[in-house]
Structure formats: C-alpha cells, structure tokens
Amino acid sequence: MDMIRRTVLKSAGATGVLAGLLATGMLKPTLAYADDWNKTAFEAKDLTEALKAIGATGATDHKDLVMKAPEIAENGAVVPVDVTSNIPNTTSIAILVNKNPSPLSAQFEFSNGAVADVSARLKFAETSIVRAIAKADGKFYSAQREVKVTAGGCGG
C-alpha cells in the first residue's frame, strides 16, 4: 500500500515544480477537483507535509482571519472550532490540528454566495495549536490558537 503510494508520488514527478507553478499562478486549482478527497494532504503525517500538500506552505498571518476555539477542552473528542475569514475574496478555508497524527482535518470551498465562515467539531489527540488556512485571490493566510486538552480524542 505504502509502496504504491511512494511510486505514485515519484511518478507524479517533482511536487516542487507543481508548487512553483501554483505559486506563479500558472496552474490554478479549481472547484472541479473539490469532489475528490485529497488523500495526500489528509494522510500527511506532519504539519509541514500537510501544508505543502494543500499548497499553503508560504501562508502568512492575517488579522482578518478569525478563529475561535476553547482555551481548555476537557474532552479532546469534541472541540468546537469556528473560523471566519473577513479577507475579501476568500474562496477556501482549511483547518489543521498541528499535533494530530494526520494534521489536516477539513477543507471547505465556498461559492455562489456562501460566506467564508465555518464551524465544526474536531478531535484533538493532545494539547495542540489549531491552525486555519484561508485562500484569497490565490494567496494563503493563516491564524492559530492553542487548545489545551485534558483527555485526548483519538485513542478512544
């Protein structure tokens, strides 16, 4: 299974080149792909890898990207997280929990009048930074908060 994945990654060629094309705007990911589950991104085992897989490596902090999450969560299995982007032309929001075994938790694309605003409930394996990534006009922005978890939500 993993072997196959490696091969696919290799044969897909230089991810770096692809990222470069994305950055220069020559290739634009569009809604056409939204129905597909981004396996590479969701199965990424650390934050750096996950951010790379969604193209958000160079995301910069933005005050108009607002995230709400509790400072302390007694139950890591159900942590409410709200993200609102007031950055004009925000088309997508992703939420990542840095210390989860697979950090990327959810990604949403907004169109046809949807406001760039989502609330969800996520599992936290342990105390972690939770990060929101918003995409607006092809650029990525981030916001983060720390949630202290007293009982983890991934072990059972």
């Binding site: 589950w37 959810a106 949403f108 169109s111 046809n112 996520l122």
Partner: protein, 103 residues
C-alpha cells in the same frame, strides 16, 4: 444506510445560517476497541451543501472530525423557502443526501 441528517436553515438578515448534524461514526482507523483491536477507518470524505441546486460549500473532511459531525455555514442571498440540500460520501462509498427549506 446511515441515519438522516438534521438540517436547520434560518434567515438572519440577508444571510441564511445553516446547521447540519450528520450521523456517522467517524472512525480514524487509529482507535482500538475494548478487545484491543484496531477499528478500521470509516469516515465521511466529501460533502456538499447546495442552495436551490447550486453548490455553495464543497468540503473534504478527515476522520479527525468528531463523531456525528456538526457543521455551521452561512450563505448570502438566500431567502425563506429556498431549498438546502446536503450530501456526503464516506470512505466505504456509503452516501446520503437530505434536504430542508430555509425558514
């Protein structure tokens, strides 16, 4: 077949506030059952919210979304009586679509 979703959509000013409750175990694949055996991954992967047939939100989610997922979204330009349809597909190919009218 999974249980129906609960969908509530209510106008607040010119924005429809949509709350969705899905019925799904959302197993990450890392949890062990009481006998110490790993429970296989079983979670929703993709979801869409449509207003009068037009997709407004397209989402991809992981097993790290809590069991029986709850989501809130906001849509501008909706009005009372509009139709909201929510669909999801999980990693085993199970799927579900439910509808509600904007109140």
């Amino acid at each position: 077949m999974a249980d129906p979703m609960k969908i509530r959509a209510q106008m607040k000013g010119d924005v429809a506030e949509i709350r969705i409750l899905m019925s799904h175990p959302m197993e990450t694949g890392a949890r062990k059952d009481d006998a110490g055996k790993l429970v296989p991954a079983h979670h929703i992967q993709t979801m869409t919210v449509a207003l009068n047939g037009k997709t407004v939100v397209a989402g991809q989610i992981a097993g790290s979304v809590s069991k029986n997922p709850v989501f809130g979204f906001k849509v501008k330009g909706a009005k009372s009586g509009d139709k909201i349809a929510v669909s999801w597909v999980d990693n085993k190919g199970d799927k579900r679509t439910d509808e509600a009218a904007v109140a």
